[in-house]
Amino acid sequence: MEFYRSHVLVCAGTNCVLNGSKVIEKALSEELVKRGLTKEVKIVETGCFGICDHGPSMIIYPEGVLYCRLKVEDIPEIVEQHLLKGRIVERLLYREPLEPKPVQTYSEVDYYKKQQRIVLRNCGIINPEVIEEYIARGGYEALGKALTQMTAQDVIEEMKKSKLRGRGGAGFPTGLKWDFTRKASGEQKYVVCNADEGEPGTFKDRLILEGDPHSIIEAMAIAGYAVGADKGFVYIRGEYTLSIERLKQAIRQAHNLGFLGEDIFGSGFAFDIEVREGAGAYVCGEETALLESIEGNRGEPRFKPPYPTNEGLWGKPTLINNVETLANVPSIIQKGGDWFKAIGTERCAGTKVFTLTGDVNNKGLIEVPMGITLREVIYDIGGGIPGGKGFKMAQTGGTSGGCIPAELLDLPMDYDTLAEAGTALGSGALLIMDDTKCIVDITKCFMKFFKHESCGKCTPCREGTLRLYEIMDKISQGKGTREDLALLETLSKTMQIAALCGLGQAAPNPVMTTLRFFRAEYEQHIDAKICPTGVCPMGKE
């Protein structure tokens, strides 16, 4: 076994790779060879650190020093000063957005201090392509415990005790869903992981799959044992090439070591997983549309009931869970439902992974206990709004979520509190907008998305998304009328009641919430025929 005096963790999440982290890593590797350090210093390519705006980044252990915004030219200095002479290179340290003083170590960074990483426990720490690193950090112990020390019912009771709720957006109690599937009649059952992450502003599932694919495999096997399924499918967006590659590799590795296949841990339980790629349809994130897609059909949702837990894939009882939901499972089985329940709020246990995007200094991925306020997320963790501009609006839950004004910044974020405020936690996407952005323009953008993504099966959505977009476009062109506002409201309420699936039901959310909180801005476009921020064409195009 080799021992190294120093480990250099290089973030190789997709966002950093786009910023050039592979080039940095290559330069580092070459410099280590040049300086004869290859037996003393090990480079570990990890999943996403989370601070996507500050990449490419690396953390050097044992000190835990975080270097950011690296360029190839910086590498010789890091090797010379830090790795050889033990002197920190201050100019390359992370800096808090609102303070000029640099921060030395990863654990001191505000961005990380408030986080509690359970789902992301391995992201940014292990090399996701090396199963031994997953195992070294406790991987597959939960599966071993479940199969050798617990009955299927014990596993379900632990999941119920944890009070984990689905993290895909709907927030349904996970333990209950597992129980329904277990109790459904039928010999053949399936477990499906919904990795068709299409909600704009959401990229948590991508980074979980890239950074820690084995956590999903382990969770699916535990779920299969609990509900009585011997086969699992991961339905993953076709655009997520690196995630697909990592997952397939991880499945092969798990097979080789006996964590998948026949007689796992000598328990008699068999489980296998197959990857199915999506082909570019947001609606396939809806569970029944997803099932249709796996079956080889157009991704058109089904009527519910029956629910997939009773009649799912090919009519068999099917458990469908989101990537983030599953990523919590090994920890819950290891540490117990009571441990998990103690984190977060009374009604929403555990942590939530949020993706911060838009006009915020630290765009990226964070994991915090449920119940944190939006103000803390934007200012304490996110580093505030760039350029010192004012906060205008946050859209929570992605494009199908609602919009929150400044007055609601102190709302604790969990499924129920946000729903009561007329918005939604959803997938955890947080899109922050500063005061130079136009509400009408961005709502038009949201409606264009739904118009494009509607599957066309039901009239309220097929026609409604088109008309919502047309009216928003009309308003942005300076041709809107007061009647149009009334029509937006009537149409929205109709779609919420009458659309077949969540896409059509949620599509009006941005319209409803922006009309509620920013009506005056709509009225300026209509009555005064001006766009206060100057963004909308207002007839000039």
């Binding site: 786009l18 704009p200 082909a279 570019g280 157009r298 961005i442």
Partner: protein, 165 residues
């Protein structure tokens, strides 16, 4: 006359291409719900899904042609028309929109001399909109075939296009 011969295209006369299609169908054929994996692999191989090929798939998988065609035209990653050698997808979802996606669209249209939804006359580039690519941490972003480009400014566009040989 077989379905294949009725729907004329180059594939009907390209035995090599047909053989590849048949091999792909053979590989996935036994799998339940094989249609979408088959279409993915065929498109990776021959770049698009002409009607004659869809007819072949329908025949071999024992599915109605309407179902196969319906699936091929439903999903945005599948195309029944030949596209450019490089398919440029520009994300127009909200996180990219507010970080300046329109300026990237303008820069691409100017550099290529075509509008969104069109293909360059030499067949090299297709330009189209895409929904969220899931790389919002580096918005605004585009994909060219399987490669993602992020943190874009209009000035970066000519160099990126140059790299596509």
């Amino acid at each position: 006359m077989s379905e294949m011969e009725k729907k004329e295209c180059c594939c009907a006369n390209d035995a090599g291409k047909l053989a590849k299609v048949d091999a792909i169908i053979e590989k996935h054929g036994d799998k339940p719900g094989a249609l979408i994996p088959v279409l993915h692999e065929i498109q990776r191989e021959i770049k698009y899904l002409p009607e004659a090929v869809l007819a072949r798939v329908a025949e071999k998988l024992d599915l109605p042609f309407s179902q196969v065609y319906g699936v091929a035209t439903f999903y945005s990653l599948f195309t029944v028309e030949p596209k450019g050698e490089y398919i440029i997808r520009v994300c127009e979802s909200a996180p990219c929109h507010i970080r300046g996606a329109q300026a990237i669209v303008d820069a691409l249209e100017e550099a290529l001399g075509i509008k969104m939804g069109e293909k360059t006359p030499d067949g090299k580039f297709s330009l189209e909109f895409s929904s969220c690519l899931g790389v919002c941490g580096v918005a605004p972003a585009i994909m060219i075939n399987d490669e993602v480009y992020g943190n874009l400014t209009p000035a970066m566009i000519p160099e990126i296009l140059q790299k596509c040989k």
